[in-house]
Amino acid sequence: MTTKKKILIVEDDLDQLDHLAMILKADGYEVISAQGQTEGEEAILTAIPDLAILDLMMENTDSGFVLCHQIKHLYPDTPVILLTAVRSETGIDFSSKSKTAASWIKADVLLDKPIRPEQLRVEVRRLMA
């Protein structure tokens, strides 16, 4: 029997956290949920996630970025998905495809909120392949 792949989800909106967990559990992943940067930091010390999904704007505007950076520092091979509502709220565009953004955002994928289940599945499958 193969062990389930672990996915870390960090999101401060409890309901949105539940959704992501439910979608991924239904697909057979083991889910580690954390509700903020601090909880996320504790979680990555006890378990090595195979994938991390982080909300960009939590209690502090930079907490998603900071956590992303820490994960990439500890586990360079763990892919990271950043969830963001920034683009539609501020008009600031930093897609991970643009060169300047890629140099300072360490995430593998940026997804715009609200997240559709099918879209999440595609990205997760692609990154875990």
Binding site: L14, K113, I115, P117
Partner: protein, 389 residues
Amino acid sequence: MNETLHLLVVDDEVGMRLSVERALRHYSVHLPDIQNDIDFRVSQAESGEAALALIDADTPDLILLDYKLPGMSGLDVLTALQERKLDLLVVMITAYASLETAVQATKIGAFDFLAKPFTPEELRATVQKITKHCMIQREASKLAEERRQIRFEFLSVLAHELKSPLAAVQGNLFILRDHLAGDTIQDYDHLVNRSIIRLEGMKKLIFDLLDLTRIESGQKKRVLTDIDVCGAAHQSIETHRALAAEKRVTITFEGPETLLMKADAGELEMIFNNLISNAVKYNKNGGAVTVAIQELGPTLSIAVRDTGIGMTQAEVSKLFAEFTRIKNKKTMNILGSGLGLSILKRVSYLYGGQVQVASEPDQGTTFTVTLQKEPLPSTAGSEPTTTVV
């Protein structure tokens, strides 16, 4: 603090340029309003063409511009400046100021006139006048910019706060659509309940926002009548009985039978509702809320104590900012718009009031609001104050 303004004098007579430089060399303008002494750095140009080249390289704050120049005239320079949209003021120097030229020059951006010949005193008086104007204008645009910034921040946070519940409800619907939570309808009860709670929260935010907007804009019609504060307190306590019963929280009242003050009934209700609903929401199961009213000479105090989860000093200091909700494990299931205390502070301010907070983690919080019994009808006075105890 000293500030230096760059003044450019444009005149074809070298004597005129030198006399301006001499007159301003040790001259400074004192502006008590912005607590600044302003002195001047003078540069010179002998023609309109030279002036424009200099302006493009090192933009001055003030320009003394001769009307009659060889080549480009003063008016030509003014027209060229207008296209550049620079933050500077121009004074025209002219020997024969006809009304017609004055009107024409003013139309295309000259701020003032100085008639030739002038004494150093006349020059300094004019420079003082335009310096004052220049600094006031800059101060005003700085303030306007700050206001725009605050407004932008308010709106982006508001957008975020409105979108979060929508994203949550939409997510719940996705789960329902894809039958991800189970095969029986009961498996979806939790999702449906959470959706209802999130939509309630969103509705509350919109209502609070409307309250806040009405108070801010002064559009809300205030009717000040003699109102029994204790009666208003009892009424609000009754409104919150059901919510309190869910958590087995008791609410008790301490105070006189009646106590009259001049107030708007709706505003007084906002004060009590905000205080009491917070004390219930942030309480522990089986906790207690005490509403205490006291007369203190020309003022009265409303103190609402709870035996709830309390806050740390750091949390208290963030409390009154718009959309602040203290987010931790203890508060995650508590519904709030993050605007309640902003409303409380602004309404109290209308009554020359103050809001004080004393809190101890896991022990409870006391909010004390002090109000004038006979408030001034206008909102004149100091800014609303909050004190952290």
